[in-house]
Symmetry: C2
Subunit: 402 residues, 2 copies
């Protein structure tokens, strides 16, 4: 007998029919003799609808009250799923975040899980109940309801799996697993049998939004085996674990991120400290800078280009405006017509030439590279947004062609 | 400085505009230097919508899961009201039933309040916060969410007022107070300045659905002064208290109840025990019998008629069917085409002729009386349903005509 944690996102429980679909997956797992803990998000658009309702009243409402409002969403979905499981004739109980023992920090709307005390969950499992837990939510030490921020249900599931030493944590989504590229865009994208935590982390950061990043970090920390699989198609998914042993591919995937802006500051004095001061202004505003490119100084001036998330571009401009005038820089230009294409793979650590192969693919496709960044298991390039899909296909062909 | 508890029903917070209307009433009370605790029901039809959602999945769902589902309704309304109060610039916090300290029995969907421990409420009031509390809900000793059943928010408000020794408990509704008759039906119905708990209890039982009965019982027990008033019209309401001193009216109101069925069992053997056994069969099914009328025995047989709530009539028939056949009774007939008209007033205790005056009014209007029941402060008659409104007007005229 194993303990299995299963997580279902909002689209998996969007209506009555889908709720019963989930109920069947859960009860089949239970019928195999497993203890089952199910973590659910709010149904479909419920969270967005509640946020809209709150904004109608007060768009500047306190985060504490916003958490009170949106956490009603999972309360509805867990009770409906429990009712469906009851209907199928199984013993079941639904638990809110605080009932399930989720103690979090008190930073409302983006709380961090401090501790999971699964006494109640264990008690209900001992009674042979299927336990349905509200994802995304917890309670602060002041007894206030908190939420973990978007994608938090993945983290809830992994945290329960870690606290209870579960044998497996299954993350059900609307895709069948992790692919070498977006299967809707690249026809011969392949489903991976397994992938390492680090590769998954790079892919998640790079816009292949299969799993929430914090959940992968936590799974890595506590060595929880994850399985990403579809709630609609019955097929084995992709296992995320410490080391991907089964496949010896150079790279595990090609990812595209179009939510990116390139900022170029032109004509910065070529002496120490200017770049540091500029980026420290951004970090005090909590703006993450990704790829950075600095030109070689010429005539006592240099140019610095960097990328940020597209929706932070305006903040960057206003944060740097005064500074740039003060230091007498010539200009600041900003473009969101760019895309970041990345290849990820633990294999590339020990293989030279992976980056070259990627650049060759882009050259063959006559796609211009604006910026390059590399890490031990990743190579990213910035290109024109209009070339993005073509680039992914070309790179995928190069690495994965039969 | 006083502590005032204010309760607003679902229609008072049905949309954003009404939520702000409530927020203004609350903040005006706060501005006068009072501590304010606000108890709110779920918005408009939210509770019914949630119940429908649950029934779509499983109409026989456990009561525990139903409570989990519907209690999300008040969670939404308290956070929205708190957001509106924040928008007006006041310090405020919303609290769920369990956060506000409502410990209840564990009879889900109709739980009884066992104890209110208002530590958290008091702490927030000490911080000068307006406290918005979810009505209708609490928590069992197993840490499960419970609901108090329909109308439970009134009880929540009175329970807080009792636990905190509030100076006043205001129940805001869509009428301006308690009237001598339904003001929509009887044009010169008068608003009462005050009414005693006992009179209010009789009126509530009799279908003048202004206040939930349990809340009045609790207010009487703890001697909490209630005020019934309108959330839409600014005017003094009706005070409910131990003794109504201010007015010396014979009766305080005329009430109509059309949710009633008359059952007649004809040809019961005229010897001891038969009536007792019949009614004990009903009480084991938790069916309340109201007016009872027994004919004088003749030829060794007698007839017994009684009234029950209309929606229990079918249960009565199936509960008594076998027994009636066994004892050889002749027939059982059932009618819901009846209405109960009642006059209530502490004044009638010391005044003979009140009942006569009522019967005279009905005689003048040529309305036939089927059954009569009296208590110390109440006279009820059962008449044809079609005559109900005419009867109320005629009786009201008789007692309240200028």
């Amino acid at each position: 007998m194993s303990l299995i944690v299963q997580k279902f996102g909002g689209s998996s429980v969007a209506d009555a029919e889908r709720v019963f679909n989930v109920a069947r997956i859960v009860t089949e797992t239970y019928d195999k003799g497993n203890d089952v803990v199910v973590v659910v998000s709010a149904q479909g658009d419920t969270t967005d609808d509640l946020i809209a309702k709150g904004n109608e009243i007060n768009p500047n409402a306190s985060k504490r009250e916003r958490d009170m409002l949106v956490s009603a969403g999972e309360q509805i979905s867990i009770s409906l799923l429990a009712m469906a499981i009851e209907k199928l004739g199984y013993p079941v109980i639904s638990l809110l975040g605080w009932q399930a023992g989720f103690l979090t920090s008190s930073s409302h709307t983006s709380a961090r899980i401090r501790r999971v005390t699964p006494n109640r969950i264990r008690k209900e499992l001992d009674k042979k109940c299927i336990v349905v837990v509200a994802g995304f939510q917890g309670i602060s030490r002041y007894d206030d309801i908190t939420t973990l921020g978007r994608g938090g249900s993945d983290t809830s599931a992994v945290a329960i799996a870690a606290a209870m030493h579960a044998d497996l944590c299954q993350i059900y989504t609307d895709v069948e697993g992790v692919y070498t590229a977006d299967p809707r865009k690249v026809p011969n994208a392949k489903k991976l049998q397994d992938i390492s935590y680090d590769e998954m982390l790079e892919l998640a950061t790079l816009g292949a939004q299969v799993l929430n990043n914090r959940s992968v970090e936590m799974a890595k920390k506590y060595n929880i085996e994850l399985e990403v699989l579809s709630s609609l198609v019955k097929a084995p998914g992709t296992i995320v674990k410490e080391k991907s042993k089964m496949e010896k591919m150079l790279i595990s995937g090609v990812a595209k991120d179009t939510d990116v802006a390139r900022v170029s500051v032109i004509g910065i004095p070529d002496s120490p400290g200017f770049a540091f001061k500029m980026f420290s202004k951004l970090s005090t505003k909590n703006i993450n800078v990704d790829i950075i490119l600095q030109s070689i100084g010429r005539d006592g001036k240099k140019d610095i280009s960097f990328t940020v998330a597209a929706d932070r571009a305006d903040e960057v401009k206003s944060a740097l405006k005064d500074y740039i005038e003060n230091i007498g820089a010539k200009d600041m230009v900003c473009s969101t017509e760019v895309a970041k294409i990345s290849i990820v793979g633990a294999g590339m650590e020990s293989h030279a030439g992976v980056a070259t192969k990627m650049f060759e693919a882009l050259y063959d496709a006559q796609i211009n590279i604006q910026m390059i960044a590399t890490s031990e298991i990743k190579v990213s390039v910035l290109i024109d947004k209009k070339d993005a899909d073509r680039a992914v296909t070309a790179i995928h062909e190069k690495f994965f062609a039969e």
